[in-house]
């Protein structure tokens, strides 16, 4: 039986945007849990956008929330789960591949345009 992919799931399986890739890259580069404000500073995302993406990744099981006490106050930090780690690596690799292919294609187009081969 072919699984029916709903419109909502189809949206979620789309290629992550540059901002999402940046967020995933930040998660991969961080040593441990990261706070929301640190993520905002690292990715230059707005609060609404950042927490929207975080919610989506949390719903998909890519993130886990951890409550810490910082300066006497509760603060939530976020960390990639195992599934999220795989997803982030795969997404970054795919993005890198896409970039390479596109760059290669552009380079090939440039070569053809600049030095057209005589038939």
């Amino acid at each position: 039986v072919t699984p029916q992919i709903s419109k909502r799931n189809a949206k979620r399986t789309r290629v992550p945007s540059e901002q999402q890739l940046l967020l995933l890259e930040t998660f991969l580069q961080s040593d441990g849990p990261t706070h929301g404000y640190d993520l905002m500073k690292a990715t230059d995302l707005g609060p609404g956008t950042l927490y929207g993406v975080l919610k989506r990744y949390f719903d998909d099981g890519y993130l886990k929330r951890t409550t810490e006490i910082v300066q006497g106050r509760n603060r939530i930090s976020y960390e990639l789960t195992e599934r999220g780690l795989h997803y982030a690596k795969r997404a970054l690799l795919e993005a890198e591949y896409e970039r390479a292919v596109n760059n290669e294609h552009r380079a090939a187009v440039d070569i053809v345009t600049k030095d057209p081969v005589e038939p």
Partner: protein, 360 residues
Amino acid sequence: MTPAPNLSPLAAMLLSVAHAIAPNKDKLWLEDMQLEAAFVPNKLRFAFSALKLALSFRWKTLKHNRPAALAFTSVALAALATLLFVPRLFVNQPTTNVAMTAPDTYETTSEYLEDAAAERGITAEAQAGGPAAEAPTQDAVAEAGPEVQEPIATVSPPAAITPAPQLEPRAEAAEPTDTSGEEASGDINQESLALEPAIPDEATVPIETTVPIEATAPSASSEPTPDAAAQADEAMSNSVATIAEAANPSNEENEAQAKQRNIPAPPTPSADTVVLSTQVRNPTVTLEAKESALLTIYSGSDFAGNPRIHRYLEPGEVLTLTIPFSLYTNNAAALSVTVDGSSFSLAETNTEQFRVFNRP
């Protein structure tokens, strides 16, 4: 979930509203944002973003329920607009007054008089020195003495200034008692004109209006005497009274002023008076004085209330009036009326006339 203690009231309120708006399954993220807001420098922007995020969460839940989505969106937008604009009402912003200025208008008559005098090169010395002096000052009258018999100041207000009725100041001054001329009467002309009240008049005066101002100067050969000084004092006090009354004229005061200036009281038609009527389609009527004539204009067609204009028109003076209005003149032959494009004289002979101009 209580907001962080170091939040501003507005940010805390926005976060609370966002938390209330968000669906239950997404409230967790709004709580996260409330906690994180304590560590964010720009807390207000953060709170607004939280509100926007909560609205987007709520919108997704209402995606397939169009009437509810519409209602919710309307309420949410109204709330957002209120939150955005209401705080600005409490911010003291400097108010900017945009003055309606026109290049040919003056705020006060005195400004115009000064400007007009400067244009014509009239100074106090010139007024006192020559027979062409038009608006003698106190000093000028006092110094001129015998040369100035009846100086007449001709004032031409601009189009934007409506001439006040029955306020042509006439100050009859006696011989000056002081050589410095401080108590002479000539200078009250401009002052009294400057204090003339701006009577709201439907009629506008498109061209120059000549307002005669007379002041009687002392004779040449007479020396200052106690009687003359008393007369000068009386004239001065009358002039000062004229200025005071002009600032706040009433009907009775206007009548008193008119008597002082030898202008009869505004007439009203008696029971046996014949009142002519002219039906006008065009709302504006133009009156042109061919000779000097006393003109009294009332608003409306019943000669009631205070007259809008009550003074002598000078030859060549043109008034543009808006119907309906009532007119009295002591010299009907002197007035030429232009109505609906046709001009005619009010009468063939020099007679008094009451006439009403109104719509057909």
